[in-house]
Amino acid sequence: MDKPLTKNIDPKRGPLNLKGYEKAGGYTAMKKALKEMEPGDVTKVVKDSDLRGRGGAGFPAGVKWGFVPMGDDAPHPKYLVCNADEMEPGTYKDRLLMEQDPHLLVESMIVSAYAIQADIGYIFLRAEYVESEKALRKAIAEAYDKKYLGENILGSKWSFNLFVHTSAGRYICGEETALLNALEGKRAIPRAKPPFPPVVGLFGKPTIVNNVETLCNVPDIVNNGAVWFKDLSKTDDAGTKLYGVSGKVKKPGLWELPMGTTMREIIEEHAGGMQDGLKFRGVIPGGASTDFLVEEHYDLPMDFTAVQKAGSRLGTGTMIMLDDKTCPIGMVHSLEKFFARESCGFCTPCRDGLPWVEKILWALEEGQGREDDIATLEMHSRFLGPGRTFCAFAPGAVEPLQSAIKYFRDDFQRHIKEQRCPWR
């Protein structure tokens, strides 16, 4: 099976340098794009490939690129920003790519920037990703030395400069417009949309923000074409996907598998199944901000469409397992504590609602639950939903909560009735 993302990765060996990366077939997509293709051709092949955003929302990347003003009248500088602020709990897929194959991201950014004729690129990197930063800085320096970055790349009229920006560290910076504010040196609060970043983005200029994994698919799409990319998948959502599993499985880890691989296969074949003595109870399929899936979803193909149909989201594709010896309320409490802390504080429901949710869950765990607590939690699930809050943060934050109430209602009620956490 072709693995556009991890083909060069060998953790024992470590990342390839530029020479090694080129030897392994790297930078061919860059050469092909710059020498043989018009910018519009690159966008077209990415659009045709149905590459969907791997940051969680699944928006088609090529369509996004298509919103950028092109031509002589287009405003400049235009920006390409790589969202590498991987702070979603349970998610560690971009880290692997950056630490183990930094040149893939560099090449991806060159090719993608060429498509939208961006002048400047930023990799907005989670502050804690020290290894990634080292690897990226080294790769970028090598690319500059080789004149793959800088002025008139490969003798063309097009120039592109690439910078690593290490974040000061807020989860909300992963929201693309909050990221732009942070990059401008402002408070990391989301922006109103419209205007959308492809038209009014960083410093008011056209800007594309793409996730690391999304971008890393681009070189092989350019090399091998849209049909090849679609054929990698088992379902209608194209490509491969980095799937991860954490929690009490035998072999937690991360694997590049065809898009649409079933949950059963991922858990049982790749993660080795549940640890002995534990039963599968549920899973948060794509990072902390997605709804629980349970046993009835065990054979679900893990792609954008199918997971959405099942009432959750593929998100980042990295699952967090819930077993039968772990308190679901405790798990949700831990997540909500994170979300309450990471709210940017801009809009009321999120800023003041999530701490309330967190405190109720805490009270349930501490044996101080009250009869009407479930109703209050449900009120929050509804009123922190899409459209109620300024951005998608709070709707994401209540996804595990609302689905936990749905699937584990008895456990909530036991906490209240028994005035204790039954798992303690």
């Binding site: 807020r170 408070r187 008011g204 801009f346 009321t348 800023r351």
Partner: protein
Amino acid sequence: MATIYVDGKTYEVNPNNNLLHECLQKGIDIPYFCWHPAMGSVGSCRQCAVKQYKDENDTTGQIVMSCMVPAADGTRISVDDEEAVEFRRSVIEWLMTNHPHDCPICDEGGECHLQDMTVMAGHNYRRFRFKKKTYINQYLGPLINHEMNRCIQCYRCVRFYKDYAHGDDLDVFGAHNHIYFGRHEDGVLENEFSGNLVEVCPTGVFTDKTLKEHYTRKWDMTTAPSICTHCGVGCNTIGAERYGSVRRILNRYNGQVNGYFLCDRGRYGYDYVNSEDRIRTPMMRQENGELESASKELVLNTLKEALKSKKNIIGIGSPRASVESNYALKKFVGSDRYYTGLSDTESKLVDKIIGILKNAPVRSPSLKDIRESDAVFILGEDVTNTAPMMALALRQSIRQEPLKLVDMLKIPRWHEYAVQDTLQQRKGPFFIASVTGTKLDDIATRTYRAESDDIARLGFAVAHILNKDAPAVKKLNKEVKQLAEVIAGALKKAERPVIVSGTSLGNEVIVHAAANVAAALSKEDRRTNLSYIVPEANTMGVGLLGGGSIGDAIRGVKDKKADTLIIFENDLYRRANKSNVDSFLKHFKHIIVVDYMQHTTTQRATAVLPAGTFGETDGTFVNYEGRAQRYFQVYYPEQEIKESWRWLRDATLQAGHNDFKEWQNLDAVVGAINREVAAFRKINEAAPNSRFRIAGLKMSRASARYSGRTSIRSHENVHEQKPPDDPDSPFTFTMEGYSGIKPPGLTNLFWAPRWNSVQALTRFQEEIDGPLRGGDPGVRLIEPAQRFSFSYFTDVPAAFEKRNDEFYTVPLHHIFGSDELSIKAPWIGELAPKPYVLLNKEDAGVKEYNEGDEVEVQLSSGTWKLPVKISDSIPAGVIGIPAGLPGLETAILPGWSTISK
């Protein structure tokens, strides 16, 4: 126009606005916090949620924030939808989780937007059972109290302070539910408009610290529409009183003038009214030489002799006295014996300015016009210090040109953060030519520092580039020439440029240069806005009335053979050389000063009569724009305090003159001015007269909920006393009378059912952010002539040459300190600078002066010992000293001086 449907009803709306704006406009109550008509929508509080439907078949709908959705044609929403109602209730519930519920001890209580919205949204039962978070409050200076625990995080404070007023020492810190609005450390808020936080904040986080000194609830104050007395802009205010003292000033919206905001001098300068330096009783010079209180009857009787023959009397008016009082004095003593009370310099400049505004192809802009300007050229003024609210208006102008981009992208202008994300650092053209650094420099495209004649030369050069008929400037150096080209180019490209100049440097050629620039920019169909800043509340009023200066009075006294001098509300020592005033006063046997503050001139009086401030009297002021505006007595004083014209009427009647016999009230005086002075033909339109009634009722000054009406004076007399009558205005002094929405010039209180805070204002506006219902009050007395007679000024000065032994000394104006009245408020005094002399670095080097060295500055008006402040920006050969500061009031500027150690 567009049609929208709200809960099944059809409304015609302006699609350029958002739904919240339009619903409030139509009288539909939707609670909100973060939206502000001057600052747009940001969608942070989520309080104004409504249900929106796709079409008439959509029964599900979705929750949207009404402030974030355009009122586009065909929009269908429900405010009453059950889910929307429940959501709005929840928003309040969230906001209240950490609110201290301390309304009974909160200064905002009773006029709190949060209280109103809580009731409106229907939250009344507390379900949150966990601990509240608390904060440490900050010391923010003498004007504003900080109580962070009450904060509901609506972001309005920082949006006003940073985004609107461009302050940089108030911010939001932290994240999630631990965000903090304050300074990076305790300290005085530096922005000159910080007092607006008090009105912008929807609850009691930022409250008026000076009100705390003599706290009274909103409903217990007697209020009247007033005009600010602290500069020439004429902002509309509401004065509020209880127990005979003025308690606070609130903004009174006027769409053409101050809009929603006031400067800190205007908001906090009121305490001079309560000052111990007030004159509250008539006084007579006794045989022992002391000035002592005496009865009104005695004083008036004694004045009979002094007032017997009009030919023996000289009258000096004042730019801080009303048009009515000045007119009365002028009428009584005659045109040749009346002087406006302006200094020589001011008088000359104001005459010029009025001539230019009347005859040149220019137009005097309102502050609204200035806010909407798309290019600015300031000549010689430090606007933040000489006309603060004009500076705030100018700050808004820098957006106008870049907003074209926003329009092009079809982003609604009310969509504030989208606008900001788009505009980023873009600013419209903004040029400042000044003697030294100004407080608008941070937004300037280019600044130019030069002595005042050189500033004029730049102006003349710009005018010449724009129109070759304007005179050229000889021997202009290359850089200045280039700068002139840049400025001319930017002004020419602009659609609504404004030229700002004024009297503060006392330089006539700057006034001429500004006129040339504006005239050169004017076209057939467009008169360029030209705004001249004048120093005092009624400088333009006395200018329009006409008369000689104090200097003319002093120089002419020998020929007049007068032995009685009447001075209205004027300290001559602030406006003419001390020695000249001293010898002038010696000519008179009787010096009658009618004033409300004690000062050097009152000390020389033979009789003093207590005039009233804005608190105790009515009258008309004319602002820089030429807009006549009426202020109304706030309260009825216990003491014998009257309008200056009324004292004159009483005294002259007593002396046997019948000139003013018919003047029973203000209407009579206004009527006479209206008939007799051409420039004031429209003065009666400034406000409704005393006969105005609604449903047969007078307007109430006190609110319907006023307490103590019958008991306030019960310590004097247990019988209920008849409230005093007000012959001059349509107001009662009590809560009796009409208390609904009054006509615009008579608005004394922003209150409407369900809206107890100043946010009730939307109910008073014809259009939100537009004029008040019935039109913005005040009447412009100067409109551009249909046919103008203007020839370019040709008095281009030679370049400034520094002298060897002398320094050209200019006044440096300070928002806190330079104004004669506001400095009497202790908190303004606290913020005023200490006297100093500002010296160029190079000059200081030559003189071997260091920062802080005490030097002696000798001017023709006197000698002062002042500490040296060294500056990079003041030109060599020029020094500056603060205008009007206590101790420096009698320094007459500009002029040449010598400095020694």
